[in-house]
Amino acid sequence: MTGDSRTGFLVIGVGNSDRGDDGIGPAVISRLRGRLPAGVSAIECRGDMLELIDEWKGLTGVVVIDAMAPRSRAGRIERLDLSSASLPAEFARHSTHTFGLAQTVEIARSLNRLPRHLIAYLIKSERFDIGAPLSPAVAAVVDTVADRVLAELFRLLATGGAEGFPGIGGAAE
């Protein structure tokens, strides 16, 4: 876990930059450096997702960016509000982590340790080779994901988190 000290809002980029499209999370965090509004922190999580339960405890809003299989339609962006709904089964498989995002969120939910608002941006991926860079299709959406995350954060900050994140439910592009 690397990044800034915690505040009320947190962006988490999950993944390993040396494993192809698994690096989308850290790549988005890199794009966000220097652009985040005051009061928002950003961290990378390279493997142990269970520690996120402690990282986001008590926060108002959290956005998580992670790669996802299946390996089709690479670059497609799925936005899911996990604050009150579980990650659908189709998104919950094939994590490269011992405990993936779905399991971590559900454990946190059971323990009543979810942040008030939790949004996941999941980017469909096609390659996870050791030492590989992002595939062209996934690299092409890094800026788009960063912009959408920023827009969410600005809107949330404007309402102090009272209204939650906009567009509750899944949305893809």
């Binding site: 142990d48 405990f99 323990l111």
Partner: protein, 429 residues
């Protein structure tokens, strides 16, 4: 003849990808095959041609759960070859680093992977709804273990600070201060965890294992010692390959290890505890006695108790090492390459991990051999499943499958580690 085949295509709650095939004919278990289909990753071949100074960073990549074990066995082997004796604060720091890995690895397995079997839950997510306190304890323990890895290893995943002869950087005493209080709390949490798992219903099962573990005259084994067994084996790590053999089986990408004279054997917490209980502090033996853990435990389902005892030990040992720590004058001893073969064996959370390296005079790796604990335990795991299945044949299919899966998880197999070993033969005509 009536034949039944039970197939578990994907064994959940183990690290890595594996399957189990159980063949039952005329009411008898005819065949058990634990198939590891995690792709082989050729680390032994990958190490050839690299400098000895690169080995520790490469082997740390083998496993995200037990990278310290790989670094410790590798550094022990290379230092054995180069004639470097590590003692004093450097040895203490490495032992402290290992404490961190034992705490995080065991705590994850106890509460998140193994406990659901005993309590009737499909996974940790379901269990957390009813046993939130236990899961929170595990998360806190794991976090404390990870903090030790970060402090001494540079980071908890694929740590980078260990080097031949010592460390790249050693911490000051002051740097340990923030972790002392969490470790004290971890001791209490670990004791609570032991008392919790002691309430689990344990199936009756007695296995006549040959236990194999390290033994050292002065300490519960982690980084050093001789390889001993409950059948009287007592050898230096350099003699490992005279007594043990790795062999391929057609249905698995992992090699199976056997004792050449006696076949399958068990490594891991049960073996360590059985062969080294006398090296545990009296207060920890008293806790083991309190929960009814026998000095030699032969019921694999009760391995969870042994892991819990080892977590308590690792937390207390970490505090002791920190309390006695004096920063060394220099973080490492210089290492000059020389040609030869070096051997190292240390106690990974799951059992002994053996490494052998052959270097040329410039310090380039000519050959490497790595034998992880899961490869060594595969034979025992299959025997366990055979016995458990034979006693469970009257159960409904899903209950039989659950019993078999639980008997595999008793040994906390790390499938990713075990699948590194495949010899590639090229036949050119």
């Amino acid at each position: 003849m009536p034949t039944k085949t039970v197939k578990v295509d994907y064994i959940a709650r183990v690290e890595g990808e594996s399957s189990l095939k159980l063949k039952i004919r005329d009411g008898l278990v005819e065949d058990v095959r634990l198939s590891i289909f995690e792709p082989p990753r050729f680390f032994e071949a990958l190490l050839r041609g690299r400098k000895f100074s690169e080995v520790l960073d490469i082997v740390a990549r083998i496993c995200g759960i037990c990278p310290i074990a790989y670094q410790m066995s590798a550094v022990a082997a290379i230092e054995n070859l180069l004639g470097i004796e590590v003692d004093g604060p450097i040895h203490a720091l490495r032992r402290l680093l290992y404490c961190g890995e034992w705490i995080e690895s065991h705590s994850l397995h106890i509460a998140m992977l193994h406990a659901p079997d005993f309590l009737g839950y499909p996974d940790a997510m379901a269990m957390a709804r009813d046993h939130g306190d236990a899961v929170q304890r595990a998360l806190a323990l794991k976090k404390t273990g990870n903090a030790l890895l970060r402090l001494l290893g540079g980071r908890e995943i694929h740590p980078v600070n260990v080097r031949v002869g010592g460390f790249y950087r050693v911490p000051s005493r002051a740097e340990f201060e923030p972790i002392v209080e969490p470790l004290k709390q971890a001791c209490d949490l670990a004791i609570q965890t032991l008392r919790w798992v002691a309430t689990f219903p344990f199936p009756d099962c007695t296995r006549d294992y040959e236990f194999v573990a390290l033994r050292h005259p002065d300490e519960y084994p982690m980084n050093r010692g001789r390889i001993v067994s409950s059948a009287g084996l007592d050898i230096a790590p350099a003699e490992y390959e005279t007594e043990f053999l790795e062999r391929q089986v057609p249905y698995s990408t992992a090699l199976h290890s056997v004792l050449k004279q006696r076949g399958a054997y068990l490594v891991g917490p049960m073996a360590r505890y059985a062969l080294n209980r006398g090296r545990l502090p009296p207060d920890i033996c008293a806790l083991a006695d309190e929960v009814g853990l026998e000095p030699v435990c032969r019921n694999p389902f009760r391995s969870i108790l042994v892991r819990a005892v080892e977590v308590i030990f690792a937390c207390g040992e970490a505090l002791r090492l920190i309390e006695n720590y004096k920063r060394p004058a220099r973080p490492f001893e210089p290492a000059e390459p020389r040609a030869g073969v070096g051997y190292g064996c240390t106690e990974a959370p799951r059992g002994i991990l053996y490494h052998r390296y052959r270097l040329d005079a410039e310090g380039t790796i000519e050959a490497a051999s790595l034998v992880p604990p899961t490869s060594q335990n595969q034979g025992i795991i299959e025997e366990d499943v055979r016995q458990v299945a034979a006693a469970s044949l009257d159960l409904p299919e899903d209950a039989l499958q659950a019993a078999c899966e639980q008997s595999i998880r008793n040994h906390d197999p790390c499938i990713s580690c075990a699948a590194h070993f495949l010899t590639l033969h090229v036949d050119r005509t």
